[in-house]
């Protein structure tokens, strides 16, 4: 069941389609809206399992597996936080992207301004194109 849950300023009625969870929270800004559009496009790519977009006051979670929403949200937050620390230790500055590959799934994390993006995809999916698309 596609579930679009809206809290605060965004309000869309729930739709009954395939098993996808979309949760949107907060007020958007122009950059956030642009990224949402890009991610909606990326979401349609083969092998992309979903994404999390987060800014200081807004968030969108769009993932295939609803039962993993919390785990994926914690993971993406941990990647963003810990990778910054690791990069700082080795003077790796101006981070473009962080890619974490698991056994079956890989996560691409990026920061654009105040917005944090995590794209979850199958290992066979091409992440390089996604990086280019987001940095456009």
């Amino acid at each position: 069941m596609k579930q679009k849950t809206t809290i605060a300023t965004i309000s869309e009625p729930p739709e009954n389609t395939e098993s996808v969870a979309v949760i949107s929270v907060g007020a958007e800004n122009a950059e956030f809206a642009n990224l949402t559009a890009s991610l909606t496009e990326i979401r349609k790519l083969k092998g992309v399992l979903g994404y999390i977009l987060r800014s200081n006051n807004s968030a969108i979670i769009d993932l295939n597996e609803q039962d993993k929403i919390i785990e994926y949200a914690i993971l993406s937050s941990q990647i963003a936080e810990s990778s910054l620390e690791i990069a700082k230790q080795f003077s790796v500055t101006d981070i473009e992207s962080v890619l974490v590959e698991g056994k079956s799934v890989k996560v691409l994390c990026m920061s654009v301004g105040e917005n944090r993006i995590s794209v979850f995809m199958e290992k066979t999916a091409t992440h390089a194109w996604i990086i280019k698309r987001i940095l456009l």
Partner: protein
């Protein structure tokens, strides 16, 4: 830099400081914990404008490299995915060979007294075998005692041990690790460990195996409140644990 999945450093470049090593392992460990949901980490790449940092899994080891993005990606790939893992595997294989060499060396030393006779009567040997070269006098060789096994240091994530029957002076870790230590020290039972927090606070305490299922015990040390206070550490932090052989 190469480190084990329990946080132990195997090798690093001279330029890498201890603080860098600790922080890298700590932060990587934090990600790895959450990455269980995607089947653990096989590869982590932080890509910046000019440089990139990669951490690649090699069985139970992780290889961390920092490279310039100007570097030939094919060469970097060959180094991190082929060359270094192969060398590490070779070293692992060679690590088992010295013990065999040591045994044969001991055998040679034991055989030496039998060769002393020809040295005592060189004239007779020359008469009987004129073409044979005189055997060199064996130099006395020092008897080397085998070195004691290097004390392994493991890194564990702290869990608070609570309950009515908890012994305040005893920590608990995975039974498999205790068994490995016992095996390493020729069956000596390990009852005491030294624990060191990342900020250098140390303590010595008793040791027991975790009672829970094996999967929950991996990489975790259960510490009672009093020892947590001594180490000034808390749940989720990493500590280094060294067995004490009595």
């Amino acid at each position: 830099m190469i480190f084990r999945n329990n946080g132990q450093t195997v090798a690093n470049t001279e330029a890498t400081t201890e603080d860098q090593t600790k922080k890298l392992i700590l932060n990587f460990g934090n990600i790895a914990l959450q990455a269980e949901t995607i089947g653990g980490i096989e590869n982590l790449t932080i890509q910046a404008v000019d440089s990139q940092l990669s951490i690649n899994a090699m069985n139970n080891l992780y290889l961390a490299t920092v490279s310039s993005r100007a570097a030939n990606p094919e060469i970097v790939k060959s180094l991190t995915y082929v060359l270094v893992p192969t060398v590490v595997r070779l070293i692992d294989q060679l690590a088992s060979v010295p013990s065999e060499n040591q045994t044969s060396q001991t055998v040679q030393i034991e055989e030496e007294p039998a060769e002393e006779n020809p040295v005592e009567e060189p004239a007779q040997i020359v008469e009987e075998k004129p073409q044979a070269e005189p055997e060199p006098i064996p130099e006395p060789q020092p008897q080397f005692e085998p070195l004691p096994p290097k004390t392994p240091i493991y890194q564990f994530m702290v869990e608070k041990l609570t309950g009515m029957l908890v012994q305040a002076d005893t920590v608990r870790i995975d039974g498999e690790v205790i068994a490995k230590w016992t095996e390493l020290y020729d069956g000596k039972e390990i009852k005491i460990v030294n624990i060191e927090a990342l900020d250098g606070k140390k303590t010595t305490c008793k040791l027991k195996a975790i009672k829970e299922s094996k999967s929950n015990a991996k990489g975790v040390i259960q510490i009672p409140e009093r020892i947590l206070q001594t180490l000034q550490t808390e749940k989720g932090k990493l500590v280094m644990v060294k067995p004490v052989v009595e």
